[in-house]
Symmetry: C2
Subunit: 449 residues, 2 copies
Amino acid sequence: MAEQPLFDIEEIVRESFDEEGQEQLTEKLSQREPEEVALALEAMPVEQRVTTWQSLPPENQIEALTFMRVDARENIFKQIDDDQLFQLVENIDVDDLLELLDELPPAVYHYAASRLDESQRRWLDTALTYDDEQCGRYADHDLLIINRNAKVRDAIRLFRKLTDEAEYQDSLFVVDRTGRYVGLIQASQLLGVGSHTSIDSFIDSDAPVVEGNMDLDDGSDLVYRSGYTALAVVDADGKLLGRMSIGEAMENMRRSMESQFMHTAGLDEDEDLFAPVVDSAKRRAVWLGINLLTAFLAAWTIGLFEATLEQVVALAVLMPIVASMGGIAGSQTLTLMIRGLALDQIGPKTYFTLLYKELGVAAINGLIWAIVIAAITYLWFGDMIIGIVIGIAIIINILIAAVSGVFIPILLDKLKIDPALSGPVILTTVTDVIGFFAFLGLGTLMLLN
Amino acid sequence: MAEQPLFDIEEIVRESFDEEGQEQLTEKLSQREPEEVALALEAMPVEQRVTTWQSLPPENQIEALTFMRVDARENIFKQIDDDQLFQLVENIDVDDLLELLDELPPAVYHYAASRLDESQRRWLDTALTYDDEQCGRYADHDLLIINRNAKVRDAIRLFRKLTDEAEYQDSLFVVDRTGRYVGLIQASQLLGVGSHTSIDSFIDSDAPVVEGNMDLDDGSDLVYRSGYTALAVVDADGKLLGRMSIGEAMENMRRSMESQFMHTAGLDEDEDLFAPVVDSAKRRAVWLGINLLTAFLAAWTIGLFEATLEQVVALAVLMPIVASMGGIAGSQTLTLMIRGLALDQIGPKTYFTLLYKELGVAAINGLIWAIVIAAITYLWFGDMIIGIVIGIAIIINILIAAVSGVFIPILLDKLKIDPALSGPVILTTVTDVIGFFAFLGLGTLMLLN
């Protein structure tokens, strides 16, 4: 039976700090899957990361890099000299090269490309006709291809050549003489079939096909839903470009969901835990700047009511409550909408059903919490009117938050702006400005006369 | 070549509103994968969802339900009467029953269980010894099992029995006489092997094994990283319980990442877009209540400085800026930490490296934005000291936000509380209270003397 399979990243990181144990660590890592090595390297501060990575055997070095998030990978490249980079890519294959392309210095990339054999060069050129959000760019070229005129024994010969490291290779991809994809054959279909039989009658041409210009997310969904372990990726003429395996589909899905999560804080899914301070500061500064604009807008709204605040200072004390309740209620609607949009579950036919539902929820919660907050305010400041003012402001702000939570992400999505990235900032601006305006405006009307 | 494979949920939803086109819609849906049907049903308001679901053939009804998010599924169950439920589960298999178990009325569940055959009943009893976060609970019982003494022809016979719908079934799971798992055999290994040969020498016993009591996330990672299309799930004695396929691993990963995303807004990954208003309002009320507590804490902090605010109303105007900048900076650190913790990439050895890095980032951004904000404040209010006060408060709050962003999630994780759910609320409380306290406190010291 296999040994304890779970991978302890914490232990690996601890050992990377121990210079004398480096040899054992290398030994341990070279037995693990590249996904795991990549996770462990990302979990190390840059110094330990580079040392540990350099101690790996060359083939594992490249493998680990391809599984690392871009920034973490880049922070290794920055620490090693060009000589080592040239050496590293000496025997790189086309798939790994495509994965690392954007982070390699141009000279290193050209050297690597020049060392590919002719068929790999052709793959490279074709892949580069697609952009880096398209399936054609990342079609996996490690696949078993067979001509439709072949016999079962040819198929068997192909499967025999698979090494132990072959992943999700239970199918042959069948092409015609011109290289057009015809269908696939699963290994189990050929069991017990005479070796001189033609493969033709075993071809499964019902399997869906990933188009090269399909978006990575769509292609990954297609592979996942198809139930096949890999699908063919084809160009506009139906020529076989490569395959997308379920492993790649899963990696794409992970990346896409991680990016959604990180975007809500204005970060990128490639953000490195141990990025250099200055790099990190630069990237985050932009986000803080954008948020500062919205904060000043809120402050400006408050500024309109300086005269009121001077007379009723309780309003200044209470105003964050109004803004905060609107912000929280709105972000719940927003989050639900962002997920729905990501899953393509929201369309014009249901915009208003969603709006009415969210308004219903907002009305109930607005009313309940308005009463609670009004009561507490009355007890705190002994002033019934301030209680009424804050209660009404809360109801208004939570209702507006519901409308904004529904329509801001729909609008952003239509404009092809990621609602996970921009939605929260815009929503907060709305709930802050409306919250302060409603509360201080009502306060001015009801308390100053 | 296969027809246009992309699935247009919007079109399906539109058609579900058209009562006369129901027949065509049913026809269209019964040709799609159950994952897709589930997504489309979730995207419909409850009325359309129920009608459309009811029009599906019985076997598709159950399949679609098992792929739906729990709340969306439950909202179908609520609309149909018990008779239909009893009919629905008449021929349900054990895996689907385990998936729907929590939403079925007890009487319906017992009826369904009573109709399972003996071997399925045994699977059910064993599965129920595991809780619903463990791999043993959801082991897939649709797998090819073979005795280690069998011959290749027996293996071929098993593969032949597979239907077109079999997914990720390229391996046999080999057991000994007592039902203990020994290893697996991939179909391609047996190609061209004589039918009387014993299967023994083809057994791959290096494939990792998923333990029944393993957490679903860990099991899914294991399947993904292994590169196999499915791994055996075994009990504490090594007996084969079933398998976990890469498809299930992917579904688990999706669910787990979705839950992280939804938790940041206090929602559940099972939240239904079209949940009944009252249900939704109830669930969200709790989250608003928790956030209200923190808002009152912030208000109370401001209340400490009423006397100051009465004299310098500019402080009231500016105070949201201080709180907001701290909140944004902190949430960036927090988000990075939450991802790191979810990937097990953060341990004691690097706590302080992370802290120093985040403090470095905070120092740079704190300083830059403090200067900008101080300058704008000076221009706005023409008072240098207010500018200095807000500048210092910004720096303090951003630094505190960095410390909190690093340690709040670590602490929550140690306490086994989901940092994605509770982290943002606690962080906002800290940055609000510290922000208001620093700003108004400094204001009191520097402006009132």
